[in-house]
Symmetry: C2
Subunit: 455 residues, 2 copies
């Protein structure tokens, strides 16, 4: 770190924390219509803060809550980084379980406690301050920076894809950074470069016009619950391979380099098993656990039901049953194509007497940035500078449609630079953010801009 | 019919109906503690009516509601018939849906409407009057008759088996008659000579200490819902045969004579399918539909569930799931032995990572009287006399523990001589009994005693 950046960071610490507290005081709960004005006030607050540091700013009207866009592009034709975050927050309910007012932040034991402290005001604001600090320290940003801070993440980012599409030129970037999650346990610096996609359907089976008495009809009629069980049991073979025809056709294998990287991840399988109380980690034969979790497509039943659900016994033959079934997808599987194949397969597996209907629930695309690409490697350099150690590179089985949208619609490499911790109680009472990690985030953001400019 | 019996029947019609109305006025709802006194009053009413016709009577205290026992045994060493029924009734709720007071009987369009009219006061009282008419017409009963009319059938006959065991000598009989159900559609005279038994268990699977996010854990952990589906799908093979080891060992095959009898039953498979809206009648390969329904053991899932049960989608991997599983059993399968084998099989089928627990729910024994035995054949003779046509002989997949108890504890042949109709709305508002079928029941009961005496 240059002396200049270091001294600016040190001189601004108190101001940064105080400003974050001001931002956290605004109850920008996007799901509550009564707080619509407060949501907009948070957007205006961020817009004004960025405008005060020489960013060209605007509020993009989306049809819902506005998105803040702030651009400072001092290098025409040079590289551009887009920093994505959100200023809306979850509701504070159950309010009784908070130890302090969720919108009157308190700092206690090195933690700032407030709704939105970690998710995501604290993390996105660290980026805002990082850019400002760098401008102050060096007189100018080393590359073009665009902030996109939306107000609808907690209600599904429903207008984001359309906004990205409509303002493609305004938002064009080479790399996107997202900080809206948690590091690996132990504050291990974590860079996430891949997410899975999702296909989600609901199988519904009907076998009769009503539930039937098993004394009168047992042995002579189809059973909807057993039909669902039969279908579900055929979705994987004995090697744990998914039987949907064509399912693996577009799956991109993991390279030897990446697999070697997986092996360097400090992953404790025993702790993993004990933490969730599983006695085995079954899955697709021929692949290691981390590769299955991160880079192989999977299928799970998420809910299943039919017939008598109460305590005790009832001698009924269910006429209806269902299974909610979802697949996590990897590059280059297309969620639509996989959904089509899954729907056709479920129909094909229907046993005699079972009328099958399949509903489609919302899915999402995967996202993957090259491990050896400039975005990931520049982010790793910044981590080394700030933390004095190598980051851990991870993929996840989770799906974040925003990240896939950024990658797909802006054609940029996306890196997730998580600044929070698993124990931050996001979405829960007493949400908090470690004050030291907030300041570290400001520093990291400034170094990210530097290293991306060098890349 | 002898002229004497015919004329006595004719002269008593109004009195019989009027007496039945008196009995139906007593709100003997066995499940309602507030009506305990009324339940006993119904028992006393029946005891007094039978005592007035020369029966030795007593109320057997059972620990719950009393059972009426009335014996007239004029032929020491001669054959004895036990007539079983119950004087308790279902609650009248929902009371708003009755067109008239459930305990103030009305006769309308040839139907007597009241709670208990068909289930079972009307049917058991037809037997009471049948015996009395025969005494009046012929001066004495042609065989020994014992009535056993209990007051706890609608609450599971929980004290009946102990009562039968305790009073074995008092209740000893060669044949038992039970009239507590419905004839085949179209008032077809129906004799039921076989019932299935029941084994009922609940499979519970646990795979983790909590539901897990499919994004974080998909591909690396067991899924309780899929484990239940896998186990259930293996309970039958592709021929519809139940895979529980030893399951069929004690199954008594149907004789050629009985199978020929099945084929004479006026059973319309198309109507059967259309009535319940099934497109197929799958089952154990190599057996006809009626044989499967009546005389082959079966297995059904009665309820199944796990994971997310609400509308829409949730990306959770269920940690717990269940299936309620029951088997209908036939001679000579032992419910306990089958339950043991089923429990062991469910444990053996558990996939990797699935912790299996199996609960046992209450089961019941099968019952079967020989088709060519004296009870069934004598009953058929009585039907021919009264109705001028052959009865239809049926078995059912249902389980009536009382019938199995009578057969097992008293070692007697049991025949079900149903006098009601499917449309009698038993257990529902506006329960009714056809007045002509009540009078026919009195006549049939008298003829049953005659033909059993001849047998």
């Amino acid at each position: 770190m240059s002396d200049t950046l270091e001294s600016v960071l040190a001189s601004k610490r108190d101001a940064h924390l105080s400003q974050l507290i001001d931002l956290l005081r605004i109850p920008s709960v996007s799901t509550d219509p009564a707080l619509r004005g407060e949501v907009r006030r948070a957007a205006e607050w961020l817009r004004d803060d960025l405008a005060g540091h020489g960013f060209e700013t605007q509020l993009l009207e989306t049809g819902g809550h506005p998105a803040v866009v702030a651009r400072r592009h001092p290098h025409p034709g040079g590289p551009t980084v887009l920093i994505y975050g959100h200023y809306d927050v979850q509701p504070a309910d159950p309010i009784d379980l908070w130890d302090s007012d969720p919108f009157e932040p308190v700092v206690k034991d090195g933690q700032i406690v407030a709704r939105g402290a970690s998710d995501d005001k604290g993390q996105v604001f660290a980026h805002v301050k990082g850019a400002q600090v760098l401008i102050e320290a060096e007189g100018e940003l080393p590359l073009n920076v665009t902030f996109l801070i939306e107000g609808e993440e907690e209600i599904g980012s429903k207008n984001l894809a359309a906004t990205l599409e409509k303002h493609k030129d305004l938002l064009a970037a080479d790399v996107a950074l997202v900080s809206d999650g948690a590091m690996l346990p132990g504050s291990v610096p974590t860079l996430t470069y891949g997410l899975k996609g999702l296909a989600y359907v609901e199988l519904r089976v009907r076998t009769a016009n009503r539930d039937l008495h098993s004394g009168g009809f047992g042995g002579g009629v189809p059973n909807a619950a057993m039909a669902v069980a039969d279908i579900v049991s055929k979705l994987k073979d004995q090697n744990g391979r998914i039987t949907v025809p064509g399912f693996y056709d577009d799956v991109q294998p993991v390279s030897d380099e990446e697999r070697a990287q997986f092996e360097r991840v400090p992953f404790d399988e025993t702790a993993f098993r004990e933490g969730i109380g599983v006695s085995a980690t079954p899955g697709e034969a021929g692949f290691g656990l981390l590769e299955r979790l991160w880079a192989r497509p999977t299928l799970d039943v998420n809910g299943m039901g039919g017939g008598f659900q109460g305590d005790g016994s009832k001698t009924v033959i269910p006429a209806e049953a269902f299974a909610k079934i979802s697949c996590r997808l990897v590059p280059n599987q297309d969620p639509e194509r996989i959904t089509d194949a899954l729907v056709a397969h479920l129909h094909a597996l229907a046993p005699e007497g079972a009328e099958v209907e399949v509903l489609r629930h919302a899915g999402g695309a995967w996202a993957l940035s090259p491990l050896d690409g400039r975005a990931v490697q520049a982010a790793a350099d910044a981590v080394r500078t700030v933390d004095g150690r190598d980051p851990v590179f991870v993929r996840t089985g989770g799906t974040i449609p925003v990240v896939a949208d950024l990658q797909r619609l802006l054609s940029c490499e996306v890196v997730l630079v998580d600044m929070g911790l698993e124990e931050d109680r996001i979405h829960s009472p007493n949400e908090k953010f470690d004050v030291a990690l907030f300041h570290r985030g400001v520093h990291l953001s400034a170094e990210l801009l530097r290293s991306l400019a060098r890349a």
